[in-house]
């Protein structure tokens, strides 16, 4: 019995051992397979997300175009969603977004480029150590805070300017400072951090040899920066500007409070409504066709952003070679 027991024990333990060995191998293999498929799933999550967003934006944005007609929406400038005979022309809204973005980029990019030059080329170390964190912080400030400051500081100043400029103009409709120009100024500030950090990286990637050669030929530091380094960094700077455009087009909350919000021709001193602010301002209570048109506006915005993204993607791939 003793021997029998021992025998059986060793049998069992041997059997189990061999069983666990193959079992373990199978088990490991299964875990490996599960791990890989989970990672793959995670990776495709972004693709699903982009696909779903595209699908939903189109599915919700197109019906209004279908119901009202392309011209009625895109080539009409009358926006009266609540009227007896409602009209849903978003021409001015689109124009305001385009004009606002272009102006903000024109104002913001030169400052951003000069700051990037400062950080990459000109700044003594201790100064750069102050400026760079400051810019990182600017990027972190929530857009509503920019909106609050624009509302409390910029708008009153703008109103004074408006009073001074139009004090004897009889046709001007006063906006209390909430106008396109205010929005543009806020946007110009908000795109600074993005444009600065991306173009600084681009400037730093320019090989030192180029700088040395230029200086050796007798160019001054400034000449080297503006005639050699900046042109060499051009692809990266273009990327920075395009990123800035994307940010400016998509910004909603900050400009909502400083731009006035009436649907008007985008002139500097008129109250305007952007693609983004149209959605923020009315989505809360819009119903039926009105709501569908707001989704069309969202679709237009999404279209702009996709254009920017595709352009950006091309640029990045060119940069990589």
């Amino acid at each position: 019995m003793d021997i029998g027991l021992q025998q059986s024990i060793s049998d069992v333990s041997q059997g189990r051992q061999s069983q666990t060995l193959t079992g373990k191998r199978n088990h490991t293999r299964r875990i490996e397979a599960v791990a890989e498929s989970i990672f793959t799933l995670c990776a495709f999550f972004a693709v699903f997300a982009v696909g779903a967003i595209t699908l939903y934006m189109i599915a919700n944005g197109v019906p209004a175009v279908y119901r009202l007609g392309f011209r009625e929406i895109f080539f009409s400038s009358v926006w009266k969603p609540a009227a007896e005979d409602p009209s849903f022309g978003i021409l001015y809204v689109i124009l305001a977004s385009v004009v606002g973005t272009v102006l903000a980029v024109f104002l913001g990019v030169p400052v951003a480029l000069l700051t990037a030059v400062f950080l990459a080329e000109a700044a003594p170390r201790p100064l750069a150590a102050v400026v760079r964190p400051a810019i990182e912080l600017l990027a972190g400030i929530p857009s509503v805070v920019y909106g609050l400051l624009g509302m409390m500081i910029l708008n009153p100043l703008m109103y004074r300017l408006e009073l001074w400029l139009f004090h004897d103009a009889s046709t001007h409709r006063f906006t209390g400072g909430a106008n396109l120009l205010s929005a543009v100024l806020v946007l110009a500030v908000m795109i600074l951090p993005t444009v600065i950090s991306v173009s600084e990286t681009a400037l730093r990637a320019v090989p030192d040899q180029l700088r040395a050669s230029s200086m050796a030929l007798g160019a001054s530091r400034i000449q080297t920066i503006f005639h050699v380094v900046l042109p060499a960094a051009r692809p990266g700077i273009v990327t920075a500007v395009v990123l800035g455009v994307g940010r400016a087009v998509g910004e909603a909350m900050a400009v909502n409070l400083v731009s006035g919000g009436a649907v008007n021709m985008p002139l500097p001193f008129s109250s305007v409504r952007f693609l983004t602010t149209a959605i923020v301002g009315e989505m809360g209570y819009a119903e039926g066709l009105h709501r569908q048109v707001l989704f069309t506006i969202g679709l237009v915005l999404f279209g702009f952003i996709m254009l920017v993204n595709i352009f950006l993607h091309r640029l990045l791939r060119e940069e990589e070679g």
């Binding site: 990776a43 997300a49 967003i53 400026v131 600017l138 509503v144 989704f295 990045l316």
Partner: protein
């Protein structure tokens, strides 16, 4: 310094003597340097102006009741306790969804994917996701999570929407961290008989931890500052959760974060509360920036 026609160049050479020319150049350089310094100074001035102004206007509003009560006309209190709780809920839920997905995507891209069409597609999708404005995420979240999945206006809807938004941030930072892990770590682990998953779990992810943490800190900053994507997904409730109603009950209810509440305060011209919340938000942003700086200098791990 455009390469002008040769005769223009000659003309210049004759009219300007050498001394004058270098003088002219020096002035031009000085002007350019001044502009460069002014631009940098402007950025710093802007930031310090913003911080100073917001704190000057906002800090007087702050006080213990501001943090511990809920705005109520009946009790005559103005407070953000409910919004603080909502913010914590949304941050936590968003991270719970986005961090595993983002880290997983980065691991796949770096460790499993063969360079090719799929890898490029995922890179493109991640890039695109990073470029989509938050208001579009808001619209999508409202119709997809809110209507199609039937979650309505709720903290869960808001968190799911935001998790799509911050996914690229997590993926990018993790990828960068994984790239920095030396190849010898991988071959060493595999050579010792570790399976791939074992190697990822015990070697790669711990080495990439600082990078992942950076991504998480950046994401928290983004979530705390977000408003457009939350306005139509998580809504704007500002009450404290009922005691004992439970976690799942709470996340199915609407709830506005600090930023959303700040926007609503501004829209209803309650500027005192808006500045108070702005000061709190700036405080949070500053803290997280400091944490990031410490992380970059290896002081957290």
């Amino acid at each position: 310094m455009k390469a002008g026609s040769p005769d223009r160049f000659m003309e210049k050479e004759t009219t300007l003597r050498k001394g004058e020319k270098s003088m002219f150049r020096k002035i031009k350089d000085a002007v350019a340097f001044t502009l460069i310094y002014l631009a940098a100074f402007y950025a710093v001035l802007l930031l310090s102006g913003i911080i100073f102004y917001v704190f000057a206007k906002g800090v007087p509003v702050l006080g213990l009741p501001f943090f511990t009560t809920v705005t109520s006309v009946v009790k005559g209190t103005v407070g953000i306790a409910g919004n603080l709780v909502n913010t914590v809920y949304i941050v936590a839920l968003t991270l719970v969804v986005a961090v595993p997905a983002g880290v997983g995507a980065a691991v796949w891209l770096n460790e499993y994917a063969a360079p090719g069409r799929w890898e490029r597609l995922i890179e493109f999708a991640t890039e695109t996701l990073a470029g989509i404005p938050s208001i579009v995420f808001g619209l999508f979240g409202m119709v997809f999570f809110g209507t199609t999945l039937g979650l309505g206006y709720s903290i869960l809807t808001g968190a799911l929407t935001l998790s799509l938004m911050i996914l690229p941030l997590i993926t990018r930072n993790t990828q960068e961290a994984l790239r920095a892990v030396p190849e010898s770590y991988r071959s060493g682990a595999i050579g010792m008989g570790a399976t791939k998953w074992h190697m990822i779990r015990t070697i790669l992810l711990p080495s990439a931890m600082p990078g992942i943490t950076t991504g998480i800190l950046l994401a928290v900053g983004r979530i705390v500052g977000e408003s457009a994507a939350l306005l139509f997904t998580a809504g704007s409730g500002y009450f404290l959760p009922d005691s004992g109603s439970g976690f799942f009950h709470k996340i199915m209810e609407p709830g506005g974060t600090l930023t959303v509440q700040m926007y609503l305060s501004m829209a209803s011209a309650d500027y005192d509360a808006a500045f108070g919340i702005a000061a709190v938000l700036l405080g949070i942003v500053l803290t997280f920036n400091l944490l990031l700086k410490m992380l970059a200098r290896n002081k957290l791990f």
